[in-house]
Symmetry: C2
Subunit: 290 residues, 2 copies
């Protein structure tokens, strides 16, 4: 049971975490801090928050649980701001889409308190953002990855794991480096690829004509290009190394495909499309549950 | 009113066209030809077809309307096969995703009969294929592009347009070259980009681990990678020139994005993502109707 949860960054994810724990009856009260006063007021009126803090330090001062839910680029500063105010027994987690950089920031700011910081990443994206989009069932049946540190005590990991299970999520544990490599491939690269395609089309003189004829394939392929620009800027920079590798691989794959097309190599094109279609179809029932 | 419609290639599109015209009460009977006997039998038992023809020539012999609904790569041979059997007054259309190559094939095979061939492209894709996936409402509210030839008589264009309107579609007329350029950008490139990404991931030793952590963004981005490999091989080859241009532009966009990431250019990355997100969000309500 959490007596007082501090949520720093009360957006879709932080807000839904608070709502889910409230619904599960495992949290006494929730105090929030964020950059936008209007968003915090909305969060309070929607029952996401019980109280609004004026500073990050004030938010964590009496909290026994702290959830860091700001874009990952904002974490180093935020961690430095809260460190002096943390209770000795406060347990911390975050929801960042990258983990090695978050751990680096945590080690730099938290000192010995790092033993009670268990990094996490809920796999529950959406284009909507802000507290108004938060909902208690967001994590139901979704996956949450925890990337515990060698310094974490087992009971701290178990506790953060229990919070997410109370939200209805399935918890998986893996190393941060593995996490970042996997998500560079299956999440960060697709986002960048969609951003690049839409930005390129949008700057053409004929953009309106082109978009007018977009169909359902374009709709699905580009849906993630509507994602939060600041959040994705931070993710890209935070996972720079793995993501550069993935862009290289993708460009090499496109170059090979381009060559097959230029050569008019019908059999090899068909084989490539067949491999992709077979792999994607095998995933369909799994992915459609998400 | 069509007395006898011949559908050559009784898949999702050809089958749905037949069902939609039947429901609208504007066709007497439908005869079909295709490569797969099992698919044709399914089409007949589902009421898509009234009769099965043993050859393309037999299918069109008594037909006053002909719909060519095979992968575009099969059209040159098919057109040559049916040309000697066409009624003098038969009106032809096709449903190919590329138009300049179809017109070339039509001119080569049809001679003077080209005046009664009005090329078309319904924008109504789906991953499902085959007659069993056909449904009469597939084209409801969807867009159908016609790319009439200079030789077409206005009444032929009006007639084919009326067929599609009877299917519930909205008809737009444009030049074939424009059509192919637009769809290279908004349809063919996204398909190839999705095929390339999934094929590349699928051949890695860790593919299963990676796919296990795919989320809803990956699901949407790669949905079109499950599309019909043969159909897309044909489309890619048929629209080779415009598509090579689009791959070049996309590669250049990815290279610029990669450079921003390598340089750690936070402001420029944010601006690029913001441009994409703004453009994509402006399309959301339009695309969500599809």
């Amino acid at each position: 049971m959490i007596q007082k949860l501090a949520v720093l960054g009360v957006g879709l994810i932080g807000g839904s975490f608070a709502l889910a724990l409230k619904r599960a009856g495992v949290v006494g009260s929730v105090v929030g801090y964020g950059r936008s006063r209007a968003n915090l007021e909305a969060a309070r009126s929607l029952g996401v928050l019980d109280a609004i803090a004026e500073t990050p330090g004030a938010a964590v001062r009496d909290a026994d649980a702290v959830c860091l839910a700001v874009p990952v680029g904002a974490l180093p500063t935020l961690l430095a701001e809260i460190a002096p105010y943390l209770r000795d027994d406060a347990l911390l987690t975050d929801v960042g889409s990258t983990k090695q950089d978050v751990i680096l920031a945590g080690r730099a700011a938290l000192g010995d308190r790092i033993v009670r910081f268990v990094p996490g990443h809920p796999i529950a994206g959406a284009e909507d953002s802000g507290a108004a989009a938060a909902r208690p069932e967001l994590f139901h049946g979704k996956s949450v990855i925890l990337t515990p540190l060698p310094e974490n005590r087992a009971e701290a990991v178990a506790q953060v794991s229990a919070w997410w299970q109370a939200c209805g999520a399935e918890v998986t544990v893996m190393e941060a480096e593995n996490h970042d490599r996997i998500f560079a491939a299956v999440s960060h690269l697709p986002h960048l690829a969609a951003f690049a395609l839409v930005a390129e089309l949008a700057e053409r003189p004929e953009a309106a004509l082109f978009f007018k004829h977009a169909g359902s394939g374009f709709r699905d392929f580009t849906r993630i290009a509507a994602s939060h620009p600041e959040m994705w800027r931070d993710i890209a920079l935070a996972n720079q190394g793995a993501l550069l590798d993935e862009i290289n691989r993708y460009q090499e794959a496109l170059t090979r495909l381009r060559q097959l097309l230029e050569d008019g190599d019908s059999a090899a094109l068909h084989a490539l499309f067949e491999r992709a279609a077979t792999a994607r179809r095998a995933l369909t029932s799994y992915l459609d549950r998400l």
